[in-house]
Amino acid sequence: MQSRAFSRLWMCALAAAMAAMAARSALAQDLKSFEQKITTKVLPNGLTLLVCERPDAPVFSYNTFIDAGDVNDPDGASGLAHMFEHLAFKGTSEIGTNNYADEKVALEKVEKTNDAYEAEYLKPVGRDPKKLEELKKAFVGAQAEARKYVVPNEFTEVAERNGAHGLNASTGLDETMYFWSMPENRLELWAWLESGRLSDVVPREFYKERDVVMEERRMRTDSNPIGRLVEQFLATAYVAHNYGRSGVGWPSEVGQITATQAMEFHKKYYVGSNIVVAVVGDVKAAEVMPVLEKYFSKVPGGTKPEDMTTVEPKQFAEKSVIIREQTQPFYIEGYHRPNYRDADDAVYDAIQDIMSNGRVSRMYRSLVRDQQIAAEAQGFSPFPGDKYPSLFSFYAVPLPGHTPAEMREAIHKEIDKLKTTDVTDAELAMYKTRAKADLLRGLADNQGLANALAEYQTRYGDWRELFLQLDRVDKVTKDDIKRVANKVFVDSNRTSAEIVTEAPAANAKNGGAE
């Protein structure tokens, strides 16, 4: 249940690399053999089922891919998609309760008392402290009353005691994913659990869970130097699009999200046409498709919600963020680039590979090996998302005694080389070979495959694109790389962020907490 946008930066880099890896292609015979293993079906409610037979061991993995994430959070409610994801672990009208009829009434009262409390709390003038205290008491009391009907964590407990492995979910800016693996003889139980939480979620223990999410924010963002830096970096890079907004949510917003808002989000975005469910493992499509159909038909139909229409305007001035604190120096910069549907998508992947992949990469060899100014240096893209125009970013971790300014200068030198001189034949060939091999390596893992198939089915409307992108990889030329570098890596399109180390205050106390 992590907010993907807020994992540590190198995790982001890794994820981006994995996405790029998945975005490439494999050999023709693999596509052919997968054609035989994969069955898809679109249900009348619009939900797409995908089953991939891989009968190695008696287990299966699944991925439920919702084409909505924190980019879809309404104004004033950043963090809502992630908050809903947490709610999806709290059970349904059938599981997680000892008396749903009474619980429903109690939950309605929780909402009413919260509304009353919030209204008083947010009064710009004339807030009555005594009244506020009473309203808070009523709100806390209503929650305690509702809790009487809760069987806490029953949904996850049933999954875990039936062998669920790697049970988790993640909310990114673009999408929300739910996933785990299980023994194959629990497939029907899983279909009951999963379809239940997609169609019949109950806003149970919402306000306690909101506190939990606030702790998640403190852990990933507020109390983590790179988390703090990345949040400011993105907020600065974007002026209009929601990619610039905190994904886990700004504290004042995520701290006031209501259960009613979460349920509205569910109603709008958790419709069949916005969901792909992929199952990979020891299953036979002919046997399991009817079971899946029976359960997943419960998910409400409805038209696919409109994509966000805000387009980030062209950046015309360089922007920068400097954080001065008692943390070691760090440098990151990013340039706006188009989304994954752009004709040059594979060119960006090629640039990332040549600049960043391994000890042969240009940035390693230049900043780490030869100049010996950085411990680590890479470029990664797209970040923070891929569905909408995103960023191509570079970062470097200075060695002791070296500064962010030196990182910046060295990165720019490498970028200039891309713009003025062709990459070598060997570099281009290496990118193509590694793209194919990396994709192949990824095919041996049920969960990884389920994730990739669900993602490709959603993003391209056809899982085959996972393999077919080989064509685009193969077509990348040296000229493409030069052209794209000259188009994107320009000063006015750049946002940078750095940490400058500040000396500790002379009288700083250690061992306080008195």
């Binding site: 062998g163 023994p183 943390t327």
Partner: protein, 491 residues
């Protein structure tokens, strides 16, 4: 950079062994069946995990071959006994630096940089690395390149170069880690908590410093290499190969080596930590990392199955006492969990952690401590026992659901000298655990008065203060990074 150290080998995760995978059905109690209890659980498809072929050479070296023709790759590794716990304190981080420099330097004939170019053009890898009790060389490539990559890997194993420039590069990387080690509160907490248990000078926790890194010379790397290569190597190959040809090839390489020499055994004495509250101030955070620490045990302890069940009840997953109380009911943490640890050949740590906003540090710590005490004070119920056993047993399949996991488990058991059927025995042990066993284990191993509590957080925001835990004086821990003495200066 791919650093595919054989970390997995020594990680606590279990894997593989042949066993009839009979999963326990989760059945309803006496009352009316719940909707999910009416869903049938058919018998599991028959499954016999494929064991690797084990060959013990006359010199004591062990080979494992695990065929897997699903994808056109061949992967291999050589696991070598001896790791950071065997290095000198004055040269702490030798193994890290050795693990990097070994590969980046390359072989006598081929520099590391040239090796990078050659391998990456084939999407192949050869990597080296070090861990607490071992070092390793590993390789992987497409099937068509497997012979060439194997030859190169063996050249690196037997004829490494150890280059001064690459040593310098590795030292710089290590120094960067040292000067940055106090930036992230989670990193501080994990490191300092382990020191509270094992002690600052223990082979398991001693800390690299700029001075110890500076003391490492090129000759140290070569000496370590020559010494460790005399140990009992475990060679594993998996993937798409012809088994007879592969066996012949491995024999040709490893049979001529002299008989293996075992490393001297470790004889550390382990103690409980000094109970009390320890504090590290970090002004730039709004959340405290709380670590409650004690000494754990090792896997040879016959109580391990009972402890595994106890751990599941305490901190394993959504249904555990810690999760239910501290996260779900109180909303005090996103991250909370822990358990009584067991390593393969030395005592692990007993660790419970919780991360909570500064102001609720005392509340969350007290709540976690209460759940710990509850293990001896609040009787375990049949429902808890049943849930915990089902959790462990029904997901047990995932210890050996891929050939790679089965192989990794075989290597692990071989390395630590455990019987090949260990996992089977362990599983059977879990099945037999009774309420009385868990109760007895809790009584024997859980002693809240012997635990150390470490808090890394923002002192100015921690209100009420840590003295409110009523666990005595709060001991500040100094984590200042020592600067090496300038030349000629005496320290």
């Amino acid at each position: 950079m791919k650093s595919r150290l054989l970390k997995e080998v020594s990680r606590a995760a279990l894997a593989a062994a042949v066993m009839g995978a009979v999963l326990i059905p989760v059945c309803a109690g006496a009352q009316e069946a719940k909707p999910w209890e009416k869903i049938p659980t058919p018998p599991l498809h028959a499954f016999k995990p494929q064991q690797p072929k084990r060959i013990e050479l006359k010199n004591g070296i062990v080979l494992f071959l695990q065929e897997d023709h699903e994808l056109p790759f061949v992967n291999g590794s050589v696991l070598i006994p001896g790791g950071s716990r065997d290095e000198q304190t004055a040269k702490a981080s030798l193994i890290n630096i050795y693990g990097q420099t070994w590969r980046t330097s390359g072989t006598e004939k081929l520099s590391g940089d040239a090796m990078d170019d050659l391998l990456e053009a084939k999407a192949a890898h050869i990597e080296t690395g070090g861990d607490v009790d071992s070092t390793a060389l590993s390789w992987d490539s497409l099937k068509g390149d497997a012979d060439q990559v194997y030859t190169l890997a063996m050249d690196l194993l037997f004829h490494p170069r150890f280059d001064a420039q690459k040593l310098e590069l590795a030292k710089q990387q290590e120094a960067t880690g040292i000067v940055r080690r106090n930036d992230d509160s989670g990193e501080i907490a994990g490191r300092e908590a382990a020191k509270l248990v094992y002690g600052v000078n223990s082979p398991y926790t001693r800390q690299p410093e700029l001075a110890t890194v500076g003391a490492i010379a090129l000759a140290d790397l070569g000496a370590w290499h020559d010494r460790s290569l005399k140990g009992k190597l475990i060679v594993s190959v998996s993937g798409d190969f012809d088994p007879a040809a592969m066996e012949a090839k491995l024999r040709a390489t490893f049979e001529p080596l002299p008989p293996v020499k075992p490393l001297p055994a470790h004889h550390e004495v382990f103690h409980d930590p000094t109970a009390g509250v320890y504090f590290i101030n970090k002004e730039d955070v709004n959340q405290s990392n709380v670590e409650i620490m004690g000494l754990g045990t090792d896997r040879r302890n016959p109580d391990v199955p009972a402890l595994a069940v106890m751990n599941n009840i305490l901190g394993g997953g959504f249904g555990s006492r810690l999760f239910q109380k501290v996260r779900t009911e109180l909303g005090l943490a996103y991250a909370v969990g822990g358990g009584y640890g067991y390593s393969y050949d030395h005592p692990g740590t007993f660790r419970v952690m919780v991360m909570t906003k500064s102001a609720s540090t005392v509340d969350a710590t007290a709540a976690a401590l209460k759940e710990l005490s509850s293990l001896t004070e609040q009787p375990f119920t049949d429902a808890e026992l049943k849930r915990a056993k089902e959790d462990i047993l029904n997901s047990f399949l995932f210890q050996y659901d891929t050939r790679a996991k089965v192989l990794a488990e075989s290597e692990r058991l071989e390395f630590y000298g455990y019987p090949a059927d260990y996992l089977e025995t362990y599983r059977a042990g879990i099945e037999k655990v009774t309420l009385a066993d868990v109760t007895a284990a809790a009584k024997k191993y859980i002693h809240p008065d012997k635990l150390a509590v470490l808090v890394v957080g923002n002192g100015a925001e921690i209100k009420p203060g840590l003295e409110e835990l009523k666990l005595g004086a709060v001991h500040p821990v100094d984590i200042t990074i020592p600067q090496p003495a300038a030349p000629g200066e005496k320290k």
